[in-house]
């Protein structure tokens, strides 16, 4: 591991769980004991890009949807869209609407997992508590209805995906040219029947969260509250967009830096920095250079770049949300808030799309042959903008693949967030639970997903080390056991 010329003390936090890649956090202190830098290391090599080479582009939706157990739909859709571009086809309007519904259902269920399962114990049981009690068990005991509604939202999202795709996850239903089968009237009605409950839950949770916000003033101030760019897709008139659209970039003042950029030309406006200490690439906005071009993607960014949501309840919440910033809403803590508004939006938008008269049209696939050798597909995954970029030979066999994932795009901002939290809560050279809890929670606000790794049992407890200037171990902490031994 390269230390980048940093001196003095390093605090190493190794919060790796049993499955999701090998990640750790190091805090780099200067001679005065203040946090000079923080790094969220990902040492699990993402080899899927190489793995895909030599395969047909038509296989890619099915393959890439297996990359991640949490957001399979995101890869499925980005891959299918890349395939559309390689075919040079405009897919049937109904197919595009069905894909859009599936993407929104995915956002609903993924956000529910992030908020209710991962972050709710922090938010409702307190950041300073014993981690043995500040977990989902504690939440079930103290807030059973909240835990239950979280599961219910996930079930509804998963059920919609299943009704569209035939399988709950890893469906190859979206394919280059459209989707493999249409939605029938009974399925449409079954989805519509679930939406009132989802709407009620999402409205209640937003209201409850807003009531809780005054309790989190310290966290709002310290959890990644800093200027940055925000990037994501918008509609042609600047509305929120999750499936299609073009790229908008805004700055911390909420001013538009760039608009209606073609996602297919992402390499013209984004560059990727590769650090020796992480396999996670660190993209930045090219024209501002590294690291000034740091940007955030995901729910917070989407609500910061969009002029409106376009559905009545989400629009009202969006207006209120934007009051939390003078320009853009800067605190990464508000990723949670934005996530809840996006769930509300997803429910409303799905209902609108299902009301379209052609939603059960049987024409959902465009037939075409390969008409290009390079293409980019882009959509908004729950965690942010996702790019798939393929090069193929004349037989459609992949010769090069680049997957630019949301967690990578938030990498620089996550590091900045960790540094800010550690700087505020580190007291001396002793690791304390309160700081560690908050660092974990700060990272969780971004909902990073490293699910591309293995799931083998018996891997990696949370390991924290404090190493002095001479390399000796000053302090060390271990939290729990991620698996069995």
């Amino acid at each position: 591991m390269a230390d980048g010329g940093l001196t003095s003390r390093h605090i190493v936090i190794d919060p790796v769980t049993r499955i999701e890649g090998h990640a750790k956090i190091t805090l780099h202190l200067d001679d005065s004991g203040r946090v000079q830098d923080a790094r969220f290391h990902v040492t699990e090599f993402r080899g899927f890009e190489k793995f895909c080479e030599g395969r047909s582009f038509r296989e890619m939706p099915a393959i890439t949807s297996r990359v991640c157990g949490i957001c399979p739909v995101s890869h499925l859709l980005a891959s299918a869209k890349t395939g559309d571009a390689l075919l040079s086809v405009q897919i049937p309007a109904t197919a595009a609407k069905l894909r859009r519904i599936m993407n929104l259902a995915q956002i609903m269920q993924s956000h529910a997992l992030s908020f209710f399962h991962l972050s709710a114990p922090d938010l409702y049981l307190g950041f300073g508590g014993d981690p043995n009690a500040r977990n989902i068990f504690g939440l079930i005991q103290q807030k059973p209805e909240l835990a239950r509604t979280g599961i219910r939202l996930r079930q509804i999202g998963q059920r919609i995906i299943e009704m569209l795709g035939g399988k709950r996850i890893h469906s190859a239903w979206a394919a280059p040219g459209g989707v493999t089968h249409p939605l029938d009237g009974l399925q449409r009605d079954a989805i519509l029947a679930m939406l009132p409950e989802a709407l009620r839950i999402s409205q209640d949770v937003v209201e409850d969260f807003k009531r809780q916000l005054p309790n989190f003033s310290k966290e709002i101030e310290s959890f990644g509250r800093f200027p940055s760019l925000f990037l994501g897709l918008v509609t042609p008139d600047g509305g929120i967009e999750h499936y299609d659209g073009r790229i908008r970039v805004v700055d911390e003042n909420g001013s538009i830096v760039a608009d209606q950029l073609d996602p297919a030309k992402y390499q013209e406006f984004l560059a990727e920095k590769v650090e020796s200490w992480s396999y996670l690439k660190s993209p930045y906005y090219r024209s501002m250079g590294y690291p000034t071009g740091m940007y955030r993607v995901g729910p917070l960014a989407r609500l910061n770049i969009a002029d409106r949501c376009g559905t009545p309840r989400a629009d009202a919440e969006h207006i209120e949300f934007r009051q939390h910033g003078k320009g853009a809403v800067l605190s990464s803590f508000h990723y949670h808030y934005a996530r809840l508004i996006e769930i509300l939006y997803a429910v409303e938008r799905i209902e609108e799309l299902l009301a379209d008269s052609d939603i059960t049209d049987s024409r959902v696939m465009a037939d075409a042959e390969l008409n290009g050798n390079e293409a980019v597909g882009c959509s908004e995954a729950p965690r942010g903008t996702l790019f798939h970029h393929y090069k193929v030979d004349d037989n459609g066999v992949l010769t090069w693949v680049d997957l630019l994932i949301a967690t990578g795009q938030n990498n620089l901002a996550m590091n900045r967030t960790i540094r800010q939290i550690a700087d505020q809560f580190l007291n001396g050279l002793k690791l304390n639970d309160e700081m560690l809890n908050r660092i974990e929670a700060g990272v969780r606000a971004f909902d990073p997903c490293l699910s591309c790794s293995t799931h083998a049992v018996g891997k990696m407890p949370m390991h924290i080390q404090l190493i002095g200037p001479d390399g000796t171990l000053v302090d060390e902490r271990q939290r729990g056991s991620g698996g069995r031994s």
Binding site: I136, G138, R154, S453, G458
Partner: protein, 206 residues
Amino acid sequence: MVPLLTRGSAAPEAGVDVDGHSTKSHGPTPLRDSREPLHRHPLIVGMGQELRGDDAIGRRVAERFATLHPDMADVLSVTQLTPELAESISSASEVVFVDAREGGIPGNLRMEWVALESRPSTGLSHLTAPEELLAYSSGLFGFAPDAVIVTISGSCFDYGTALSPTVELAGDRAVEAIRAWLESRSVHRADVSAIVPPCPESSALS
């Protein structure tokens, strides 16, 4: 780890292994819920990443079990555990989780009780642990069935869809171990560790 949502006494309970020897189980006492419906079925949940070599063995075992013994259990094959599975679990008579394990002799097979215990937060993970699913099941849906986890030590977790031969063979033994355990459940509650077919050193190391 702190016992939290109890399901009956936590004291070890006397049992009998397949050879008729008196034993003690090593996990929490399984709960028999008085509200248990008559038609609960066993549930097998195989998990793993299908593109990471031996990590997929849990799923392959579950799928093979479904093929060989289609009437014996409901089967789920998933990339990773997620909270909404708790509802299916709460409807099952017992649950067998099947997963790959890093470390140990490749092909080595273990079967252990899954305790209904509090575990520290999983930090940054989207992974739901079997223990958490049981807690969801009990706390939110009123019933947590007895559960075991079968793990198979993997050999290669590189990118690819093939299992290593040793691990694939161990998968057959895992199917048999699960069948034997489920059958034993209908007769008596036996010590689970005694039911796992022996793993000869020679085959485990091959």
